[in-house]
């Protein structure tokens, strides 16, 4: 870590004067980056970091992002930003734009984990004096993960100049962590005071070390107390986290099952190809992304209606072509739709590929919303919870507020009577099945963001879907929502102590027992329709 000390030194010496003279070190460092040997690259990074050059942090940032290349023809170091299949390049030092080139004209500067770690801590230290507060905060947080006594000295000096409250807080934590090791009891107690209630793992580990290994009775006692306070807070956060995981799993179950709640629940058709309709929705997302490679961020907004139409049409075709001849013969329907599911799988395998396909996550679906140091909610799950609720509400509106919905309910309650009233029951059947299938397609779009898109995607969800619908009560959308959410949450609360495999088995056993007791599910249908 001697070179880190050098960085700090150059920082403390306030660099404006040193540019010109340090350029040699900087240039040498840049030159070394082009070497294929990682040890030489490491020296290069060290040289750049210690050079005090104003561009050092920026250059290392690009290197870390994998945006630093050299041009093969003249060995010039360039920053390349991917633009479709080509790269927009600019001079790495002067930032002068150099046009757009093909990938093969560039050679990437490759990194390994050791280098990435070194670059990160170098940038962190360089960033402590960055004018942007969020960058400074990042720098301090980096140092919190990898404490370094020399960096702490710099932080102490910077603290006086710091104005941003969040950065001050982080800096105080960092200093307090270092102070835990001090000899002076009052200093240690003050540090403990600062750290108590801090959820960062570094604070917890520092306090735990003191509580277990500390020599002074007074300080160990204080550390223990602070730790206990943190533990209580942690437990609350864990509970929230598990609840979120459960709701997210539940929303996936609801999405997968809600289409089935219509075809199976309302129409009474056992559709084993339901999973494949979900799969078709996921593949539609893939094809939409293929068609608009430069607008991945918007692709999902196109994919949702597209998947609804594709799966809906396939559903209508299945209903018109096969199922309508089999109404009232559940066993034959089951076998026929199972056959259709195999045909659809093999169709995708032959037409596209047996391999899984890559569906990209839009940038707004990646990453997580950080609530505090231990609790963060991943965006993709968060959006899918909202999406599931949205689909549910939309479906309720369709069934309750539109003419189609009225007819669907009429036919499902009493077919003969509905026909007598002039409802074209065959047309309603086709539309209902299409609606359920279309919703399955939409579920496929959501699932493509969470799991693998491949020919077997549907198989993984068919059992779960039936489980949710049966548990919730056949023919009841609210039942599906409540059943999906409660199964998800229960699963996630069991998982930590039973493991993922056993949790799933326990859920199935529970449902079997439940169905024994209440064969019509959570929300049984009432009235004469039940008999039909």
């Amino acid at each position: 870590m001697s070179w880190l000390r050098l960085i700090l030194l150059s920082l403390l010496l306030a660099s404006p004067l040193s540019h010109a003279s340090d350029n040699a070190i900087f240039d040498q460092g840049v030159e070394r980056l082009k070497d294929s040997n990682f040890n030489i690259k490491l020296q290069g990074v060290e040289a750049i970091a210690t050079s005090g050059h104003p561009d050092a942090a920026r250059l290392l940032g690009h290197l870390l992002q994998g945006e630093l290349f050299y041009r093969k023809q003249d060995q010039k170091l360039v920053i390349g930003i991917k633009d479709g299949r080509r790269y927009q390049i600019a001079d790495a030092l002067s930032a002068e734009a150099l046009g757009i080139v093909k990938k093969r004209e560039l050679e990437k500067i490759r990194l390994n984990n050791q280098l990435r770690g070194q670059i990160r801590s170098a940038i962190a230290t360089l960033n402590l004096s960055n004018p942007d507060a969020s960058v400074r905060l990042d720098g301090v947080n980096q140092l919190l993960d990898k404490p370094d006594p020399n960096a702490v000295d710099v932080v102490r000096k910077q603290l006086a100049k710091e104005s941003d409250p969040a950065v001050i807080e982080a800096m105080r934590t960092l200093i307090a962590l270092e102070d835990l090791k001090a000899d002076d009891t009052t200093q240690v107690l003050a540090a403990i005071q600062q750290l108590s209630g801090d959820l960062r793992p570094a604070a917890r580990n520092g306090l735990r070390y003191l509580a277990e290994q500390g020599a002074d009775k007074q300080t160990t006692q204080a550390a223990r107390k602070a730790l206990a306070a943190i533990e209580t807070k942690l437990q609350l956060n864990e509970l929230t986290e598990t609840l979120f995981f459960g709701l997210s799993l539940g929303s996936v179950l609801v999405l997968a099952a809600i289409g089935l709640a219509i075809t199976f629940g309302v129409m009474g058709v056992i559709n084993m190809a339901h999973g494949e309709l979900i799969m078709l929705g996921a593949y539609t997302t893939y094809i939409v992304q293929l068609l608009m490679p430069n607008h991945i961020d918007f692709s999902l907004f196109v994919a949702v209606p597209a998947a609804f139409i594709v799966s809906g049409l396939v559903g209508i075709a299945i209903e018109r072509g096969v199922i309508r001849f089999l109404y009232g013969r559940p066993l034959e329907t089951l076998l026929a739709t199972f056959g259709i599911s195999l045909i659809l799988q093999q169709l995708v395998r032959t037409a596209i590929s047996a391999q899984n396909v890559a569906v990209e996550n839009p940038s707004w679906m990646s990453g997580s919303l950080e609530i505090n140091a231990v609790l963060s909610l991943t965006y993709n799950r968060l959006y899918i919870i909202f999406f599931a609720l949205l689909v549910f509400i939309a479906l309720q509106l369709v069934l309750k507020k539109t003419a189609l919905g009225l007819q669907v309910r009429a036919v499902s309650q009493n077919r003969a009577m509905a026909r007598a009233m002039g409802v074209r029951s065959a047309w309603v059947d086709a539309m209902t099945f299409g609606l359920g299938s279309g919703i399955a397609g939409i579920a496929g779009v959501a699932l493509s963001q969470l799991t693998n898109v491949g020919p077997n995607l549907g198989q993984a969800y068919i059992i779960d879907s039936f489980m949710v619908v049966v548990f919730g009560g056949v023919g009841n959308l609210w039942g599906t929502l409540v059943a999906g959410m409660s199964l998800g949450v229960a699963n996630k609360f069991i998982e930590p102590w039973a493991g993922a495999v056993l949790a799933k088995i326990l859920m199935l056993v529970f449902i079997i027992l439940f169905i024994q007791k209440r064969p019509r599910g959570l929300f049984p249908q009432k009235g004469r329709a039940v008999e039909g």
Partner: protein, 431 residues
């Protein structure tokens, strides 16, 4: 004497004509059949289709070189459709009906276990190209993939010594390979002084996609202030959502690296590799290995498959080695008779694709180098570490109490796949 002459002439004509017709028959049957037993449909088609193509390419190349023993090789491709009982059925067909000289195939351990009795009963030869859990050595099977000591143990050594890992998460899919491998690793880690509290073991079902709680647990486990790593035997496509969740929850390869034994170039091709960059994989071959023989192989593969984007991977190399070993053994024995080839193949050495030489050992496993690579954003691996020399495959792990004293040696006079050194007895069971 005319009569005699006439009879003599007649017999001569008959003999000649019989001889001629026989030679015509021989001409028709004058190929050596090679069985290819890989799933071309069903769940395993993802991985196994590539191996079928690899075998077709290798056979095609050998035929261009003039075949084997003056005869052409003829591939017999069957599709066991990822269905374990069907594997046994198809294997029986290959051996009894098609009379193949050798079979190259299987991917999952359960499919290998399913065909094993068939190959032993009909005395066939099976070349098995995938890394597996060990604890097996059959007279009729040649294991060209890695045994645990050729993949898992060196990877753990690397993490322990070079990265300084102190806390271990052993995460796997719930079936025989991860369970056995993790049992071996747990015993190994404990022998190195790692405490129970520093090992976390986790199993998930096949195709698991909801990794939220597990990744959150790993994060918690890794926040105890000691360097933590995940050793992953998670199988196949469950990996993608796993790495995605790691990325989304902000776990980078620098904070908690994941070393995987089932993630290779083929698995990475066609997926979004951003969340995986920097994580590790341990194999005996990477497409990025710098060796002339590898360049040639990749070039030949691209030409054969007519697609420059297709990647090569470790099981393909295993077939390359296995096929060349079989060819050399047949040449040495002068016949394709399985018993003769079984004897001849032990000790055969052929080039592997990483620029060295692999040898078939008496326990029917081979010697291989062990490489560790970091995943790059183009789906390739940057090799960060490799063993100094070749590592011989160990059929029976030294770290499991039940198999410590067992060795396999198919040479006379031992000729046993399950020989207990302590009791000096061959259990007679071949698996």
């Amino acid at each position: 004497m005319h009569l005699f002459k006439a009879i003599r002439r007649l017999t001569l004509t008959i003999t000649v004509s019989i001889g001629l017709s026989m030679s015509a028959m021989v001409q028709a049957a004058d190929t050596i059949k090679v069985g290819i037993l890989h799933s071309l449909s069903g769940t395993m088609a993802i991985s196994e289709t590539t191996l079928k193509d690899t075998m077709l390419m290798l056979i095609d190349e050998q035929n261009k070189k003039g075949g084997l023993l003056g005869k052409k090789l003829e591939p017999v491709v069957v599709d066991p459709a990822s269905n374990w009982p069907l594997f046994a059925e198809k294997a029986r067909g290959l051996l009894a009906k098609d009379k193949v000289a050798a079979t190259f195939g299987c991917w999952t351990s359960v499919s290998r276990k399913s065909v094993l009795p068939v190959f032993e009963e009909l005395n066939g030869l099976l070349f098995y190209p995938v890394q597996y859990e060990g604890e097996e050595s059959s007279k009729n099977v040649f294991y060209t993939g890695a045994a645990p000591n050729q993949q898992a143990i060196p990877a753990v050594d690397y993490l322990m010594n070079d990265i300084g890992v102190k806390r271990w998460v052993l995460a796997g899919t719930d079936y025989v390979y991860p369970r056995t491998t993790n049992k071996i690793l747990e015993a190994y880690l404990k022998s190195k002084g790692v405490k129970d509290a520093d090992i976390m073991i986790n199993y998930t079902p096949f195709g698991h996609s909801d990794w939220q709680s597990i990744v959150a647990d790993i994060k918690k486990f890794g926040s105890a202030g000691k360097k933590t790593a995940v050793v992953s035997t998670i199988n196949g496509d469950a990996n993608v959502p796993f790495y995605k969740e790691l990325g989304n929850q902000g776990i980078s390869a620098e904070s908690i690296p994941v070393v995987a034994f089932s993630v290779g170039e083929e698995e990475l091709s066609g997926i979004d590799t951003k969340p995986l960059v920097g994580h590790l994989a341990a194999w005996n071959y990477f497409m990025s290995v710098e060796a002339d023989v590898n360049e040639d192989f990749i070039e030949a593969w691209h030409k054969f498959i007519k697609n420059k984007k297709r990647v090569t991977n470790d099981p393909m190399e295993a077939h390359y080695i296995g096929f060349n070993m079989w060819v050399k053994a047949v040449e040495k024995a002068g016949t394709t008779d399985p018993s003769a080839v079984q004897q001849a193949i032990i000790g055969i050495t052929v080039p592997n694709l990483s620029g060295g030489y692999s040898a078939m050992m008496p326990n029917h496993h081979i010697t291989k180098p062990v490489l560790i690579g970091e995943i790059q954003d183009d789906g390739q691996f940057e090799i960060v570490w490799q063993t100094a020399g070749m590592v011989p495959g160990d059929a029976w792990s030294d770290f499991l109490p039940g198999s410590k004293d067992i060795t396999a040696d198919w040479q006379a006079p031992l000729s046993c796949g399950n020989y207990n050194v302590k009791t000096s007895k061959c259990s007679g069971q071949n698996y």
